[in-house]
Symmetry: none
Subunit: 417 residues, 2 copies
């Protein structure tokens, strides 16, 4: 099955917006064992869209088209698909009713939103669970077009809920097909080169398994794709490789596939009936923000004292003025007092703290930019750790927030350091 992607939008071609939809879909298709032959980006230009649709349809069995389904005049995709199919544009009663309902609730408000009820005649119209524009499915010769809105949230929902299952079903129906089994192992705090070196001996013993590495600092992911003539064999092969990789990587692996570091920490806290309070300085609330991404985080997350100013470290988590004056806010002592105060003042099982220098200013010879102290207070007492992170302000803050959460994870797993 030959697959191509076509993304449309002036905002992508002007560099104003980066196309994140295509990488997302490429990754999802990879786990199906599908290779994409080509990805094309064109602007909101009728001729360019139509030309790209025609030539993609001539080469591919499936073309996933995204963008240009909005309500404004530069949203041309429906029109272009209809012209390429040689059909009229018609109003879809179902989409119209859904739009009118959204208008009555105030979700969409202007009459030009009703343009989104227009579809190529004869196209299958698939409801968008999180937005106004439906997904459209249409065929030209041997080629199927899946036409999706470009809004990343809507695009991803429709890819996961509709495109991937439909392509999987087509693959299942192919004679002589190969079967695939994929696993994404997620690590934190391990550079790509270390991860690569750690699993290198395993790659040599499983030449039929594809190993892919992806650095998303401070996370690094290892993708395993096993291929075999039957699903049972592919699953078995994957299970063997995964088990060896997990043994080689140890507790650096925090989770797999859909797990996030926050969801794993939350699961561990929930399972034990524990709670956590944070005290954050250089991360500026990002640790709390990560934990709160998980629905139901209020079961185990009490709060975070984002105490950027030193006075708030005293006011909210009881850091001593004397300690601040003596060793400075970026120190193991202050990290320890922040963690202890966060725990004691809020009655949490765990208090976790972070204080450091995110830069670009504020560094010194003794404490350069990237110096970060962590504190963790729990049933067995308090401990601190000093770390050094490379990179710019954003990178240091991100690494610090992940390390903060990872410290809680490792403590819950009973690790000493």
């Amino acid at each position: 099955m030959r697959v191509e992607l076509l993304a449309t939008g002036d905002e992508i071609l002007s560099g104003a917006v980066t196309d994140t939809n295509s990488p997302y879909l490429l990754e999802r298709l990879f786990t199906l064992g599908l290779r994409v032959q080509r990805t094309t980006l064109v602007g909101d230009v009728r001729g360019d869209i139509e030309d790209a649709l025609v030539s993609a349809a001539a080469r591919a069995d499936v073309v996933v088209v995204s963008g240009g389904l909005g309500p404004t005049a530069d949203d041309l995709t429906v029109e272009c698909v209809a012209r390429v199919l040689g059909v009229r544009v018609v109003e879809d009663a179902g989409v119209l009713a859904a739009l009118q309902e959204r208008m009555s609730k105030g979700v969409v408000r202007t009459a030009n939103n009703l343009r989104q009820a227009l579809v190529p005649e004869g196209a299958e119209v698939v409801k968008n669970p999180v937005g106004s524009a439906p997904m459209l499915v249409a065929t030209r010769g041997h080629c199927t077009f899946f036409v999706l809105p470009g809004v990343p949230r809507e695009f991803r929902q429709l890819v996961d809920g509709e495109v991937v299952p439909r392509l999987q079903a087509r693959l299942n129906a192919e004679p002589g097909r190969l079967f695939h089994a994929a696993r994404l192992l997620k690590t934190v705090g391990m550079p790509e080169s270390h991860l690569d070196a750690a699993v290198a001996p395993i790659t040599q013993r499983f030449p039929e398994v594809i190993f892919g590495f992806r650095a998303l600092a401070p996370e690094c992911h290892l993708k395993l794709l096993a291929t075999a003539p039957s699903q049972v064999e592919a699953d078995e092969r994957l299970a063997r490789v995964e088990s060896e990789c997990r043994a080689a990587l140890g507790s650096a692996v925090f989770g797999h596939d859909g797990d996030t570091l926050a969801s794993v920490v939350g699961g561990l806290l929930s399972a034990r009936g524990h709670t956590v309070t944070l005290a954050e300085s250089c991360t500026g609330g990002r640790g709390a923000d990560l934990l709160c991404e998980v629905p139901g985080a209020s079961r185990y997350f009490l709060g975070s004292a984002v105490s950027y100013a030193n006075a708030l470290k005293e006011e909210w988590v009881g850091v001593k003025a004397d300690t601040l004056a003596r060793v400075g806010a970026v120190s193991a002592e202050v990290a320890a007092e922040m963690a202890e105060g966060a725990r004691a003042r809020t009655g949490a099982t765990w208090g976790a703290s972070v204080t450091g220098i995110a830069g670009p200013g504020g560094g010194s010879d003794e404490k350069p930019v990237g110096t970060v102290f962590f504190g963790l207070s729990g049933p067995a007492g308090v401990r601190t750790e000093k770390r050094f992170f490379h990179g710019d302000r954003e990178r240091i803050r991100q690494s610090s927030a992940y390390t903060l959460l990872d410290g809680v994870r490792r403590a819950l797993l009973g690790e000493k350091s």
Copy 2:
């Protein structure tokens, strides 16, 4: 001048690596006033690369090709370009000497690196200041190929040092060339359809200005690109359109171009010598995180009491237990007490609070998911606002955090609501 980009590499099409080169180049070209018509990504497949080269050359005056110049067997770009040009591949003495020097220094180590001395016969060979593979410039008909290595650091150096200056020179030499002036206006809290409707009358009076809309909920951006026979006229035209758009959009425009909502709020606070403390519930620290993205935020940002648990709303910002029991945490009264407590306890000029229901659970008929209360305490007293946001947990939290910051911005501008 019609420009296209062609990026090659299996790692891009498998989703293992995201193509960051194309967005970089797209943005650089946009500022030259150059519109890119199409970007194509293909894998390391001879037929696909050659086909893409031929069709791009047929459409475009300039094609920037990246990737596939490495030393390994799947690096096919030189071969494919030579075939498309109808020339042989020859060894370039200059590149060979440079490679041998790098080998003698241990920078490149294997004999197959010498493959990188092969170039299409007749192509201009441009030294790569930071890597082994040279940039190649060749023409087919009216089309010029710029062929660059895919390593992002090398790609960017060659784009900035060679491609952009060469294209600028060509633009300057064009008879009757047009000049461009661009502005990005950024709004918050205004759906794309409202923005579109608000400026629609202006678009009709300036048909020679391109209006582009980009929804990045809860922000929405308006890009203006004015074109004229001279730079002075383009600038004047842009200034007129911008001024009319600003008048039509009012204070919904929080900034332009490189501004972020956090940098604008920070700038306003700094200019007045004011400080702010947040008290966040449903946003879980995202308001603080946004403010802290700006270097030097410690000048005006004191901290945030991320009080997810009700007990912490009492402990950190002095919300009364009685108020919580009487009206619940998601209420105007609690928002007001959070804002007042945040201000009073920390001595900030402003205390800003948010408490709401981010979902997916926790909603009721009276207070459905998406109900959010904001409080703002300042020199003139405290006020609250109730808002309702659509979408999932992430969307509601994001909208709430931006609205929290925007409330501070509007207060600093002296607005009443």
